[in-house]
């Protein structure tokens, strides 16, 4: 999602150019003190080098000064005298390939030897600019700035070698972590140039290499973390082990925001392994020397709660509220003399359910706090923890076991710090799956009204309305109003008389950014309803869309490619049908999908999805494919599986028994095709989610004549 203000490329450039009058020169070194936390080592090398598993996380010690200091022209690049190139990654790796992609961008422009690179994960530090990993923006936001940071380092090293040899920099070139004097073949490794490089001041801005010179960018290099993942060495938040650490679980009020009136910890403290029970603002924490004891201890607590004002919230009350708001908003809409078609669409709240339940390790000392966390948002974690406990706080970012927007929030980080402070011990705060599902910040429930109108005689479309009612985003670090409901609300089809409206409907449901945010519900409504209109006008859904897409709309070639690769309209096995949908997310990346579907005994079976994408320049082709595959699975879960329901303020689901996810046996064959583009990288992380539900449901209509307008699909909808 794009709610939080991230530094745009332009803003990032402005920031770095005005600081000291040059690009990222010197300011980091000058400000570097012992207070700057050391980045965390990423325990694997992007090469064929066998990986030594690191089973125990250690606090990274402050580096011992060496006789020759390393060359650190900026926050992202460091060269040691022995030639080791260290790159710092300032966005979170949560499976979308941030570490691999950003490292490739830096290494390529730096002309570094990819087989001899060390990666560090940046701690929270405002000098990095935005460290928020969201909005599918990691590659798009950082492509140019990181290349400039690396180019600065490269040109400084070239200038240093030129100085050593007494030649012109233009007579030298960089390759494989070395500088070569082209005419003579003389070579100096980057390590040998570290001392001289520190004395060089470049005049003028560094040149970026032409795309034709890319050696890494554009290739599907192996994911840097994969060796550690397959050997069990990869360390997620939940794997952090601080010296002297205990494990804690917190009992929360079943109604969000409820508070403790009183509690009895006698039974809890009797559980072997439980060491303490402490109250914090959000509930009661049980601290033990192992996770199981903490969980058992919590189960043995007796707590009375003041449930607070949210105790009246229910799925029925949510539906009533949204329906009422829409009814009111559309009361004065007219048909304007046209033949009209109306429909109402609806989506429920959804949980994120990354496989790693949210968690956080905290070590609160007398004058300082250290946080180790699987997070998409270290900056806000730092701010909110510091404010909560009143101490300067360093935040170390781990590998993330799935983000999807949940890890933008700070609730469990604040909780961990509060427990650690109250306990006087380092603790690993563990949320069980039940906690994770019941105390989420959900994707907003929505209620949509759509109307299309056409001339009775000519059938020309002359009216299109899409009104959506839903809450905004009301988390702790994240808040948004009407703007978020507008995401993907308006179609780009060339239909005259288009109007849309976002009816912000506040309700006491905790909501937060969820993969693709409102693009999902809005595309579900738009692309399903467009097919309804096509059917009413007896038009083929593909031809209908193409007729409505302007030549300049990036969706056109994307739709055409998907249809071609899917053999739209061609022969299919008996009982199969195809459905089409397309969407541009955040105005950046356009995706079209053709789903091949069958329905058996009321159960929707998705056999194949052909996906076409225009995401601008592609840094890592296979990562694009992975995000399309993964986004499709994510969207299919929302289409076919669970929903969050509430009664008396309580979330009724708790684990994968009542909030199921798509299984391996249910995954369709996915084919991904790219539309070539001259645009810079635009982002892919969320972009496959919006089109998949309407593509499948449009096929379901073709098969059954039944229009599904509410998610998730239930078998009773189709028998």
């Amino acid at each position: 999602m794009r709610l939080r203000s991230q530094l745009t490329r332009r803003a990032f450039l402005k920031l770095t150019v005005t600081a000291g009058g040059g690009l990222l020169i010197g300011s980091y070194l000058a400000a570097c003190t012992t207070e700057t936390p050391t980045p965390t080592a990423i325990p694997s090398l992007p090469s064929a080098t066998p990986v030594t598993p690191v089973a125990t996380a250690t606090l990274a010690p402050t580096a011992t000064p060496t006789p020759i200091p390393p060359f650190e022209p900026n926050l992202f690049v460091r060269i040691d005298p022995d030639g080791l190139v260290t790159l710092t990654i300032h966005r979170s790796e949560m499976g979308q390939g941030a570490r691999t992609t950003l490292a490739m961008i830096l290494a390529d422009e730096l002309e570094a030897d990819w087989s001899k690179i060390k990666l560090l994960q940046a701690p929270a530090n405002s000098k990095f600019g935005s460290q928020i990993t969201s909005g599918s923006g990691t590659t798009a936001d950082n492509f140019l700035p990181l290349r400039q940071a690396a180019a600065l380092a490269r040109e400084t090293l070239i200038a240093a070698a030129a100085q050593v040899w007494g030649v012109a920099p233009a007579d030298c070139k960089a390759e494989q972590s070395s500088v070569v004097h082209t005419a003579s073949g003389k070579r100096l490794g980057y390590g040998d140039l570290v001392q001289t490089a520190a004395t060089v001041t470049l005049t003028g801005e560094p040149q970026l290499k032409p795309a034709s010179d890319f050696k890494l960018i554009g290739k599907s290099l192996p994911r840097v973390d994969e060796p550690a993942i397959v050997t069990g060495a990869a360390q997620y938040g939940l794997d952090q082990r601080l010296p002297g650490q205990r494990f804690a679980v917190v009992a929360h009020c079943p109604v969000a925001g409820g508070t403790v009136v009183g509690y009895d910890a006698t039974q809890a403290k009797a559980v072997p392994g439980v060491e303490a029970v402490v109250e914090i603002p959000g509930g009661v924490a049980v601290i033990a020397n192992n996770t199981w004891a903490a969980i058992q201890g919590r189960a043995a607590l007796t707590i009375s709660w003041d449930e607070g004002s949210r105790a009246t919230l229910s799925s029925d009350s949510i539906h009533q509220l949204l329906e009422t708001r829409i009814t009111k908003a559309i009361a004065n809409e007219t048909a304007e003399g046209l033949t009209t078609l109306d429909a109402f669409y609806e989506t429920p709240p959804l949980a994120h359910t990354a496989l790693e339940p949210v968690n956080c390790a905290a070590d609160v000392q007398a004058d300082h706090c250290d946080i180790w966390i699987s997070t998409q948002n270290p900056g806000d974690v730092q701010t909110f923890v510091r404010n909560a406990i009143g101490l300067p706080t360093d935040v170390h970012v781990t590998l993330v076991g799935g983000g999807f927007g949940r890890r933008l929030e700070v609730d469990y980080a604040v909780e961990a710090a509060q427990v650690a402070k109250a306990a006087g011990l380092p603790i690993q705060l563990v949320w069980t799956r039940e906690d994770d599902i019941q105390h989420d910040f959900y994707r907003q429930p929505t209620y949509h009204w759509l109307r299309a109108g056409w001339d009775k005689q000519t059938k020309a479309l002359a009216l299109w309305r899409h009104y959506v009612a839903g809450p905004g985003i009301n988390g702790i670090a994240y808040h948004a109003g009407q703007d978020v409901l507008l995401e993907g609300l308006d179609v780009s089809y060339d239909i005259p008389g288009r109007a849309s409206q976002a009816v912000i409907t506040n309700m006491p449901l905790p909501t937060g950014p969820w993969r693709a945010v409102m693009n999902g519900p809005n595309a579900f409504a738009n692309e399903s309803f467009l097919d309804e209109v096509a059917a009413a006008l007896k038009q083929d859904p593909l031809a209908f869309r193409l007729a409505l897409l302007k030549d300049s709309d990036r969706l056109r070639p994307v739709v055409q490619l998907a249809a071609q690769k899917a053999n739209w309209g061609g022969e299919l096995p008996a009982g199969h049908a195809q459905g089409l949908a397309c969407h541009t997310t955040y105005g950046l990346t356009s995706v079209a999908m053709v789903a091949e579907v069958s329905v058996q005994a009321g159960v929707v079976r998705v056999h194949k999805v052909v996906c076409a994408v225009d995401c601008g320049f592609v840094v890592h082709p296979d990562m694009v494919a992975q995000q399309m595959e993964g986004g499709i699975v994510f969207g299919l879960t929302a289409l076919l599986k669970g929903e969050i329901t509430l009664d008396k303020g309580r979330v009724q689901q708790s684990n994968f028994n009542d909030y199921p996810l798509l299984q391996l046996s249910e995954m369709p064959v996915v084919e991904v095709y790219g539309v070539p583009s001259d645009r810079p990288p635009q982002g892919v992380g969320e972009m496959a989610v919006p089109p998949i539900a309407p593509a499948v449901l449009n096929a379901v209509f073709t098969l059954t004549g039944k229009r599904i307008r509410r998610l998730p699909v239930r078998p009773s909808d189709l028998v």
């Binding site: 089973a55 994911r223 050997t231 060495a233 199981w292 590998l399 983000g403 684990n655």
Partner: protein
């Protein structure tokens, strides 16, 4: 509190723990083997999968008192340098995204191939029931299973 003698990845380990402690937490918290993951605690996601005498077991739902003398294999016990055929297949097919579920997926594959060296897609569907991946790597897992089967 009781004493348990376990064989973990070929090494003898003695633990003092409550008999009802699931093997998952003994591995992660007492032996500091964090490669086996916690995902749901009720045996429905497979992230906690280990092998007991070569058979898959959901360690979150396996109390220490039931392990007995069975040999425990965790992800760390396959090959620390990733040389096991299944790990190699995972690398070749670029299976992982966030990777959190993959230890369970890999061990499930090891057990499947020990019983069905050339598994059909239906065999794979069955073996991977309730072995969840939120990132949606299923298509690649399937390909990697076939690849590892082919490499045997």
């Amino acid at each position: 509190m009781a004493s348990f003698n376990l064989t973990v990845n070929g090494s003898a380990q003695t633990l003092d723990a409550e008999p009802d402690m699931p093997l998952l937490w003994a591995l992660r918290d007492l032996l500091n083997l964090t490669g086996t993951k916690f995902g749901c605690g009720i045996g429905l996601c497979g992230a906690c999968t280990v092998l007991l005498d070569g058979e898959t077991a959901r360690s979150c739902s396996t109390p220490l008192s039931t392990v007995g003398t069975r040999s425990i294999t965790t992800i760390e016990g396959l090959s620390p340098t990733g040389q096991h055929a299944v790990q190699q297949a995972w690398l070749a097919e670029s299976v992982s995204q966030c990777g959190y579920c993959q230890a369970g997926q890999i061990l499930t594959t090891v057990a499947l191939l020990s019983k069905a060296p050339q598994p059909s897609d239906a065999d794979i569907d069955t073996a991977f029931a309730n072995t969840l991946c939120r990132c949606g790597t299923y298509q690649r897992i399937r390909k990697a299973v076939h690849r590892a089967a082919g490499a045997a």
